[in-house]
Amino acid sequence: MTDIKTVDARGLSCPQPPMLTRQVIQKLDKGTVEVLVDSGTARENVSRLAKSMGWAVTIEEQADGSARIILKK
């Protein structure tokens, strides 16, 4: 079981969600990172950034309207 790093970007506005995500995934060659977001904009921006850096993206919708973005490499 590998460690899952978490970026909690809920409630943060542009451009912090993708910026914080980048800070974490830049330091990793591979692994799993979960990013918590609560706006459509943050969801799109984090997904686009991660894909551009070669990470696979899956999104899990949460009951409270937020989303858990799972990044894998």
């Binding site: 506005s13 542009c14 451009p15 706006s39 459509g40």
Partner: protein, 367 residues
């Protein structure tokens, strides 16, 4: 509906929005708006501040329907696509101050980033100094973002909070239409509380319904595409993400072509409409505005679109802009076509110092 939604949130969204603005903004000038001012969020909020009597600069008073349309168009999109999520609590007071200083800076240049690009596309080369200042201001903001600047997290708010700004916009629309006059001036003539210019830029406007429909359309598109004229430069430098940048590029190119087609392209430095030729303060004013917009998370247009999603923190920024516009024109900080106002240079320097202090001191509080 969902196909449109996906298309606008894709990389094409900002480009489509930029093309729409590039066509419609010069057309608004053609239909009556002031020169190179088809859309200027700061100028229009300044005009609204004047119409409400927050300042008495008689040439810039009008309730601009484009602003009303921006918020209500965004609201419609947010409701249709389930993105109406009222929220608040991310340093509202600081956002209010940033809104004020953004307006102080932008009114020294005489335009927000939207108008800076539109001025360039109309051949107003003095806009180049403003855009350079904007890039420098955004660059300074990025340094703060990289070193941990944050206005903190917002949290969900009751639905009613999200409706405040849209309702204010509906009230403004009513005031625009009925133009109530029940105050008395010194000579006993009817005046106020709503003031509309009879001369100058405030008196120049396209028909109400045209301006409103254009505003609604752009507001709808921009909410979906996340169009932002400051984010365009910020994301390019900070994240190497060109999505928004292509939107602004499309705006400039299409507005240039539309201006050419309408005979509105007049290249040169001097004699440009609602502009001055002082390159230093064109630069300085927009550097302040760029920094304030970046610290607040987006351009004034984006702040309006966010209020349509129920973002009360952006609504505080807009409130700061309204008050700032009143102060700016009351205390001779705003420029005129003759050049910077008496206290324009002072407020740019003071504003830069205060925004740097905000950039250095605001950090997310760990609890």
């Amino acid at each position: 509906m969902s196909a449109i939604a996906r298309f606008l949130t894709s990389r094409w969204g900002p480009i489509i929005t930029g093309v729409a603005v590039g066509i419609l903004a010069p057309l608004l000038v053609f239909w009556g708006n002031p020169g190179n001012m088809g859309i200027c969020v700061v100028c229009f909020i300044r005009d609204i501040a004047g119409a409400l009597g927050f300042h008495r600069a008689g040439v810039v008073q009008y309730i601009r329907p484009e602003i009303i349309g921006f918020v209500l168009g965004s609201l419609a999109a947010a409701l249709a696509f389930k993105e109406f999520k009222p929220r608040t609590g991310s340093s509202p007071l600081v956002r209010f101050l940033l809104g004020m200083f953004a307006v102080f800076g932008a009114l020294v240049f005489l335009g927000c980033p939207w108008r800076a690009y539109l001025r360039l596309a109309g051949g107003d080369w003095t806009a180049i100094f403003g855009i350079l200042g904007l890039v420098v201001g955004i660059g300074i903001g990025i340094i703060f973002l990289r070193t941990g600047f944050s206005l903190g997290r917002s949290r969900s708010a009751p639905k009613a909070v999200g409706w405040v700004m849209p309702i204010i916009m509906v009230v403004l629309l009513v005031l625009l239409i009925i133009e109530p006059q029940f105050g008395r001036d010194a000579e006993g003539k009817l005046t106020g509380p709503i003031f509309f210019s009879t001369t100058g830029p405030g008196s120049q406007h396209a028909a109400l319904i045209i301006s409103l429909v254009v505003g609604l359309f752009i507001g709808f598109l921009a909410q979906r595409s996340r169009f932002c004229t400051v984010g365009a430069i910020r994301d390019t430098i900070l994240l190497r993400d060109f999505r928004l940048f292509y939107g602004v590029l499309a705006l400039i190119v299409v507005a240039f072509i539309t201006n050419l087609a309408l005979g509105q392209f007049n290249p040169g430095f001097s004699g440009q409409p609602v502009a001055h030729t002082n390159e230093w303060w064109n630069f300085g004013g927009m550097a302040l505005a760029g920094l304030a917009f970046t610290l607040a998370g987006g351009c004034p247009g984006r702040q309006l679109f966010l209020t349509g999603e129920g973002d009360a923190d952006s609504a505080m920024f807009i409130s700061g802009m309204l008050v700032g516009a009143g102060i700016s024109h009351t205390y001779s900080m705003a420029s005129s076509t003759a050049g910077p106002g008496v206290f324009g240079p002072f407020i740019v320097i003071a504003g830069l110092v205060i925004c740097v202090v905000i950039g250095l001191t605001m950090r997310e509080v760990k609890v």
